[in-house]
Amino acid sequence: MTFLEVTSFLFDGFKISLLIFAVTLLCGAPLGLPIAFCSMSRFKPLRAVSRIIVWIVRGIPLMLQIFIIYYVPSLVFEWEIWKNLDLAFTTGRELSFAGRVFAVMIAFILNYACYFSEIYRGGIESISKGQYEAGYVLGLNKSQVFRKIVLKQVIQRIVPPMSNEIITLIKDTALANCIMVGEIIYKANILAAEDALIWPLFFSGAFYLLFVGLLTIVLGKIEKKLSYFRS
C-alpha cells in the first residue's frame, strides 16, 4: 500500500472520530447547562440526584460506560437496539457500525455533558454575589441579571477549562474502538492485522496532533477575544 492509500484509508476512520467529536460537543455542551442548573437547584432532592449522577458518570471510566450503554439493553432487556441499527444501516456485504456509533455517541454525550456541567457550575458559582446585587439594585430582574451581567463573565471563565475538555474529547474518541466502531485506531489495527503494517498505527497520531493544533489555535483565539475585560 502506498503512503497516500494508507493516509486516505486512515482518514476515512478519522472522519468517524471527528463525527463523534462534533456530535458530542454539539449535544453535550448544551445538555450540560440543565445539569448544571439542577446541580445548583435550591430544591434539595433535585440537586442531590443531579450531583449523584454527575459523580457516577465522572467516577467511572468512559470505556466502561460505553460497554454499559452497548451491552445492557441486550443483556438485561433483551433489546437488540444497536445490532438492529447496525443491520438497518447495512447496504453492502460489510456490516455497518452505525448502531455502535450511536451507542458510543450516547455514552460520550452523557459523559461530557456531566463534565461540562461541572465547568459551568464552577464558572457560575465563581461570580461574586456583588455582581448580582449590583444588577438587582438597579431594578433588573433575575433573568436580565443572568443574561446581561453574569453570562459573559461566566463564559470568559469557562473557556480555558472547556478548551482542555474539548482537546481531551478528540483523543477520547479512540475509545470507540472498544466496541469495534471504525474510527481511526480501528482502521489502523486493520492494516496491522491484514497487511502486517505497523507504522500506520503510529502515523494515526499525526491526525490527532494536527487536529489538536487546529483546536488550540481556534480556542486560543476565542480566549484572546474574551480577554478584553478582567472580572
Partner: protein, 252 residues
Amino acid sequence: MAVLEVNNIQKHFGKTEVLKGITFSLERGQVLAIIGSSGSGKTTLLRCLNFLETPDEGTISVDGKTLFDAADHKSLSDEVIRQNRLHFGLVFQNFNLFPQYTVLQNVTLAPSLLKTGTAEEIQSKALSLIEKVGLIEKKESYPCQLSGGQQQRVAIARALAMNPEILCFDEPTSALDPELTGEVLKVIKALKSGDSTMIVVTHEMEFAKNVADKVIFMADGVIEEFGTPEEVFDNPQSPKTKAFLAKSFEEI
C-alpha cells in the same frame, strides 16, 4: 412630608440580632450620614432599604406609600420587590461595576433594559452623568482600566442613571487609597442639591460634619444618637457616641 420613613426595622441572622428596631425619617433633598463602628449594622440597614435583605419587623415607606410591611411581606412577589428597589439606589463599598462593559455601557445598561426613555435620551443622560462625575474622557474605558476612585465615580453615575429617589452609599471610600477618597467625596458633595436625597454610611467624619443635614450614630443595631451634625458632633448626649467620636478624631 418625609420622603422616607423607616419604622422599627428589625433584622436577625440566625441568633444574632443585627438591627434592633431602627426608626427614622428623612426629608426630600436631605443628606443623612450614618456613622458607627464596624459590625453595628450599617450595611444591613442599607441592604434592607434596597430589599437585598428582608427585615423581620417594621415598615418602609417612600413618599407616604408603604413599600414594605413585615406584617405581610410574604405577599411580596419578585416583581414587587423589583419595583420597590427602583425608589432606591445603592453604591457599594467595592463598586461592583460590570467588568465586560465600558463606562458608558455600565451607565446605560439598566436604563436600556428597563426602557426608561428613548435610546437617545438614555445615551445623552448617561453622558451628562459621566461628565458630572468627571470621567467623560474615560467613557469608552473598561473598569479594569480605571483607578478605584474612578470606578466608584462610575458606580455613582450608574446609580443616578435610574433616577432613584433615595441614593444610598455604603462606605463609598473605604476600599480606596487615601489619596483617592477626596475625588469621590467631592462628587457626592456636588450631588447635594435640590431633590436628591442621600444616605451615606461613612467613616469620614469631616465629610459627615460638613455635608450631612442629619447624622445617625449607630451602635449594636440601635440608633444611639440622631440629630444635626452640630448636635451629634459638638454636643453628643450618649456616652457611646462620645467614646466613638473621641476615638475617631484621635486617629486623625
